[in-house]
Symmetry: C2
Amino acid sequence: MDSSTQGNTHLSDTQRIDALRLIRSDHVGPRTFRSLVSHFGSARSALERLPDLARRGGAARAGQICSEEDARREIAAAAKMGVALVAPGEAGYPPRLAGIDDAPPLLGVRGQRDALMRPMIAIVGSRNASGAGLKFAEKLARDLGDAGFVIVSGLARGIDQAAHRASLTSCTIAVLAGGHDKIYPPEHEGLLFALLENGGAISEMPIGHVPRARDFPRRNRLISGAALGVVVIEAAHRSGSLITARMAAEQGREVFAVPGSPLDPRAAGTNDLIKQGAALVTEASDVINAVAPIMERPIALLSREPDDFVSFDEPASGDRERIIALLGPSPVGIDDLIRLAGTSAATVRIVLLELELAGRLERHGGGLVSMI
Amino acid sequence: MDSSTQGNTHLSDTQRIDALRLIRSDHVGPRTFRSLVSHFGSARSALERLPDLARRGGAARAGQICSEEDARREIAAAAKMGVALVAPGEAGYPPRLAGIDDAPPLLGVRGQRDALMRPMIAIVGSRNASGAGLKFAEKLARDLGDAGFVIVSGLARGIDQAAHRASLTSCTIAVLAGGHDKIYPPEHEGLLFALLENGGAISEMPIGHVPRARDFPRRNRLISGAALGVVVIEAAHRSGSLITARMAAEQGREVFAVPGSPLDPRAAGTNDLIKQGAALVTEASDVINAVAPIMERPIALLSREPDDFVSFDEPASGDRERIIALLGPSPVGIDDLIRLAGTSAATVRIVLLELELAGRLERHGGGLVSMI
């Protein structure tokens, strides 16, 4: 079971504060965080190098570095509402979520921490679902809950709500797009409190963060990442649930879809998913049988980037310019960059890190980067 | 295209009468017919050997052999209503149908014979279909018809009817379970006449044959056999359309299914088909894209049984008894029989043929036989 393989790590207060400062600093996302810690050995060392790296990357002015005071204030505010900031490997950090490429270095968790260590199935779908869709979501969530799975979803109206409600007595997890105190939609606060009884809520955003439109797709990777698989119930073309399904596939998670009539636009997205290879679901056993063999395998550990530069000499000026010249607004593979630049992988990586910290580089999935 | 590869054979009147006599004789089905003609060289020679073979197989009394007079009468009665009895390879015999294991040696065809040579897609489904199912069947049949495909179906109520109606102006083929003069259901006579205008109707049964319950599943193999693929629209568990889908899979035809809500029992069968690997269909292009590569390949010719006995010496009495002792009510493979009996394949085959003509043996698909 998941719970036996993880949850043994424990950060010191200082480590936690350093980690929070680093992830809350300008231009540092989960991937950059991982790169920095991997290369500099600790969040503390990385924090010390940030201003220099950003300057070398051509930042017009230094990005904001989160102060120790701000970090302590956030931890205190979180603690006040029962939210702990936990790192991958710590109790309360969903073990499978720790394995994704861009796992949050610290996750705000609330509710029953042991629930967050159990095997999860995500159920997502339309906000304006049909009666049949809602009924099916309830039945599936109840049956999967009875079978011992934790139901994870996004607390939205429609399918999410139905899935959470039907698994309140078993166990359900809400993944938030904003801070723990900024529930969306606001009328689901009651549902959130109810689910904290047996389940939990998670967010990578600071307390006080009001969710913006772009935070929802970003949040969706946590829904799929925490789960063994994602079941999509009723999704129109180009809906948010399909983003979650795509992320699930990229993360190596099982993708399940509930079919519907070709004449029902709310089934267009799910039928398409099945055409593309998602497993068709009509009952809980379709999901249970598919994930059973996965649960028996140990959870894949996060693959670390190669630690192939440790001296951090400033790259030769010609190298940096050659690499920058190869970059543009179209995403390009890091492997291709290394080949085309004719320099060492270490040099390319340090230049990319500099550019990123200067706010000039965007990282995409699959090892692709582009200039902003 | 199909039409260029077949339709060049032509039977003489005598050959046609002999073939009809053989297939209309007791205990001779399409597979036995093929065996007999393959071994004895012609239907005429096989007819001469029938009484002797049946006696050797232990028939209590000789089975009825269709007389030349009866055969002439059937051909005349068929001709009177515009039905021609055509053999595989002749114009009007659907080329792909000629390739199935148990292709009718003579097929009663009516309507536009060139239509029967064109690429076909079968559309089948529930008799008590929903409004959405009927609407989808109409749209799919119309779109496939517009794309140049002939729609083949079973003239039943519900989905069949909707598919035929929507392809009246393009081209549609009805496959009958009874004789051409015994239309089922009777109220679809008007639909039949309408579809003969641009399309056709086929049956392997003699004029005057009233369809019995067991004739429908038998007929279904012709629907799938004539087509490149079978689309199942709305089918409950254990429905006749699923038999057609199974036969299609056994015949190497593409199987397509239209999804529906898990809460709709009329979609249970089609959703199951998709779980088992059928392609999900929401629009005509799903079918067209899947069959396009198949249409480019030449149509597989009927594999002939090996002509490995030509002397037809009566098997040694010990051989026959040993083979009979190995047979029982459970189907057994002919290959296993040959191995277990320790005799030649030729001896096993002739003994099986004798037993079959004596009405004591049943042949199943996949080279399996059992005693009756």
